[in-house]
Subunit: 201 residues, 2 copies
Amino acid sequence: MAEKLYHHGDLKKEMIQKGIQLLNKEGYEGFSLRKLAAMCNVSHAAPYRHFENKQELYRAINLEISTKFRDALLEDIDRHRDDPRTQLLELCTHYISFMVDNPDYFRYIFLTSHDSQIEISNEDIRLPGDDHPFNIGKNYAKEYFCRFHENETAWILDFISLWSQIHGLTLLLVNRTIRFQGDHMEYARRMIESYLNSFEN
Amino acid sequence: MAEKLYHHGDLKKEMIQKGIQLLNKEGYEGFSLRKLAAMCNVSHAAPYRHFENKQELYRAINLEISTKFRDALLEDIDRHRDDPRTQLLELCTHYISFMVDNPDYFRYIFLTSHDSQIEISNEDIRLPGDDHPFNIGKNYAKEYFCRFHENETAWILDFISLWSQIHGLTLLLVNRTIRFQGDHMEYARRMIESYLNSFEN
DNA sequence: ATATAGATGTTTACACTGTAAACATGAGAG
DNA sequence: CTCTCATGTTTACAGTGTAAACATCTATAT
């Protein structure tokens, strides 16, 4: 319990952690560097030793949340090694439910700093790098969709198509634009299944 | 050319118009009440005679953009009275292209003030009111999807499913998470068509 | 026609924000 | 053991949203 050290020790890490807390408590609007500095028991200028500006702190938090998100999803997948279809379905439903449970995360990840991603170019379609949360399902989607096409790259459009739907449904649910009464994941799951079914026939 | 009237005349309206300009120029982050007041040649406190706070101005701008958006879409539809399928397809592609052309609008409409909507309750699914931009395609979707179901309300899930996909693809394109080289609307259109086709069989 | 009230503008004030600059402290390399 | 540098603090400043007090115009009642 290092009480009142002048040097904090691992401020950078703590700011990211407490930053996520602050984000959850105050939302994106109420977020401020000075509040966060106070939460870390540190003067309001201290953050500038670790982040050049607010934007860079945002990026760090963004990255941290993305990582948490991806880890949570991948962990769930490990429990369903059966077939690609089940994996894909599980991935989609957890993608949605994770974000519905943490509404601010979604806005945060997909609304700050939409640059700085390594891009993977595939002829005429460019996806972000494999570490980008959008791409979590890519490999599972490939495995599932490939067999429906003779064309090697057509599965990418299938993947984008599926992921657009997940992504959009998530946005609609997170913003409460649409609401399912009762168990909303029941409806989400049904939608995804019926989408996947359309390939089976 | 009323040059220097003390009373401005129609400040409320001008603030909304210039507000949209300012939004396009500076983006959501750079937006400020005081800049906007300056653009209207008015002191920085004048806005408070017309809007209780910044949030309420946001809502007004949000509403104005939503209206523009809906008008643009409906105008396009009028030119395609042929069949519901074509209408739906046109609606979807224009939904996307309008937002890709005005990236800030999308973030703005779907990221501010996600309350204050009249809700239409349908048993266990709640959609926003008919004036909400999300619902522009609802009636066309109903007309198109209804014939594929014996169940009266199953088309709503179809609608949500389709609109989720449009919505998500728009978000991905607006944020430049994914990029289609060349004519990106070509790809978008293909995706929508292949989705609609899955119902025809 | 004129006094007056209410709508709409301005000025001043304040707390809070991000950020820069100058200064302080302490941990680790020489 | 000292000196340097990473990491903290203090002070300062311009920009923000918002409230309160004051000014001016418009419209309405007499």
